[in-house]
Amino acid sequence: MFTEFLQFLLSGVTVGATYALVGVGFSIIYNASQVINFAQGEFVMLGGMMAWFLFERAGLPMPAAVPLAIAGTVLVGLALEKFAIEPARNASIVTLIIITIGASIFLRGGAQLVWGRDFHALPALSGDAPIDLSGVAVNPQSLWVMGCTVVVVILLHWFFSRTMTGRAMRAVAFNMLAAQLAGVNNRLILMFSFGLSAALGALAGVLIAPITLTYPDVGIMLGLKGFCAAILGGLGYPYGAIVGGLIVGISEAMTAGYVSSAYKDAVAFVIILMTLFFMPNGLFGRRGIERV
């Protein structure tokens, strides 16, 4: 009984960590630009696909393929900011949403063209043999996902609280105009946010690809659930997105395990609707006071 529960919990935390990484990416870009980047899921897809390509096709060793895949995705993220977001800075929220959706279609189309429509399997980083922990079968890749997520969270915390760039990003999120007046270069921050988000997405993609396989459309649902995580935690709160991601992942795994796997994908959206109905600004979101 209890082992079963632990097994579900483990798989929930693994997926949830992926959602969390994607969700943090949403929050970081939102903070720098008030833009919701619907191409966030495509960063995940690109990370997984590039790693697969570099490892399987180009024959690079894994320690080279992974960083290169992340770097390649970062370049795509920077290009997206430079050529699609920057020229439309003053457009309305809806217009910007459509632009990022256009970008996501574009990137999926590009991936199909370059790598085909097939499913690809990236080998796990340290083998497939499950480790037995008193009855719970632990997939080594799950440990990689959780370990990397913890490291990323610690690094992000250090980055946002200790480095100049991180503090500048928090300042921009808090008050863009004031930050600009204080000498923060908003455009640079915006570029950097897209790069950082792309890196986080790509990392999630590399880590999850051995578990879920990777294919051009893999990013759609991952992106939407990452968006759920970000909204659940309160948009613009990277730490909230991590909690949100874990809640969504664990609830999904529990539903699939105990209730019905058919409605697994609906769980995230039911949670988000219920939360928003009662807490319109997410779990940790600031309540905005209307100033007139």
Binding site: I289, E290, R291, V292
Partner: protein
């Protein structure tokens, strides 16, 4: 006769008590001004009276009826209207349409007849449009009747808000800094407009920093400081009130 009364009203944002046990009343038919240093709670008071904020304590009475906690759109029906410190013009409409929204409660606004464009809806709307155009003339915006509001100068937008507020046919009109950002000659025109509005029998309450305007048009002045009523009286009384002078020292005291 008292038209508006607030009784021991309180509203806090976080730990900041913006309005702190405030009581005051506004007489029918007179022009009142509310003055006070920045952060005294003037705009918060307007937002409370119009129902945009809900007070934590206290009551708001309009013509003797308790309106505390009523939704803002209900207040318009009770004869209360206002303008905004930060322009809240409908920039997606023409000047005329802005004023026509002000007449919302006087329109035939039933959904099905509107969707089917029944003749009486069209006829009523034409009457509304004519009335709205008259109001634009009244506030001195005759040249802007068909203009897109996002193409109008700032001073004209200030008056557009006044026309729109008048379109609700209010008994009590709250003007939140109508002269802010205007040059002296434009301010003079606002002064004339306020007198003209008061002349039609509408009670006007003004929040304003321009002391010349305040002293010129107001029959009664209320001074707020840190969410409480510091003093009230005629311009002459306020000018010589030592508390007021102290509160204003270093800020607007030099104009008093």
């Amino acid at each position: 006769m008292t038209l508006l009364a607030v009784e021991s009203l309180s509203k806090a944002f976080g730990g900041n008590r913006a309005i702190d046990g405030l009581s005051l009343s506004v007489r029918q038919g007179a022009v009142h001004s509310i003055i006070g240093p920045n952060g005294a709670g003037k705009t918060t008071l307007f937002n409370l009276v119009t129902g945009i904020y809900t007070p934590e304590h206290g009551r708001i009475l309009l013509d003797g009826a308790d309106t505390t906690g009523l939704a803002p759109y209900r207040m318009a029906g009770l004869g209360l209207s206002r303008t905004f410190q930060n322009l809240q013009v409908f920039f997606n409409m023409t000047a005329l349409e802005n004023v026509m929204v002000g007449m919302h409660l006087h329109c035939d606004r039933r959904f099905l007849p509107s969707m089917l464009r029944l003749p009486r809806v069209v006829r009523r709307d034409a009457e509304i449009a004519a009335e709205a155009a008259e109001l634009l003339h009244f506030v001195g915006l005759a040249d802007y009747v068909g203009a897109d509001s996002d193409a109008m100068p700032y001073g004209a937008l200030k008056r557009l808000e006044i026309a729109r507020a008048l379109a609700t046919k209010p008994r009590l009109l709250l003007l939140d800094e109508p002269a802010a950002g205007l040059n002296p000659s434009e301010t003079g025109e606002i002064d004339d407009l306020i007198r003209k509005i008061a002349g039609t029998g509408v009670t006007v309450v003004l929040v304003e920093h321009d002391m010349r305007l305040v002293m010129g048009v107001s029959e009664h002045i209320l001074v707020l400081d840190r969410g409480t009523l510091l003093a009230e009286g005629t311009g002459e009384e306020i000018r010589h009130n030592p508390d007021v002078v102290a509160a204003y020292l270093g800020e607007e005291g030099r104009y008093l």
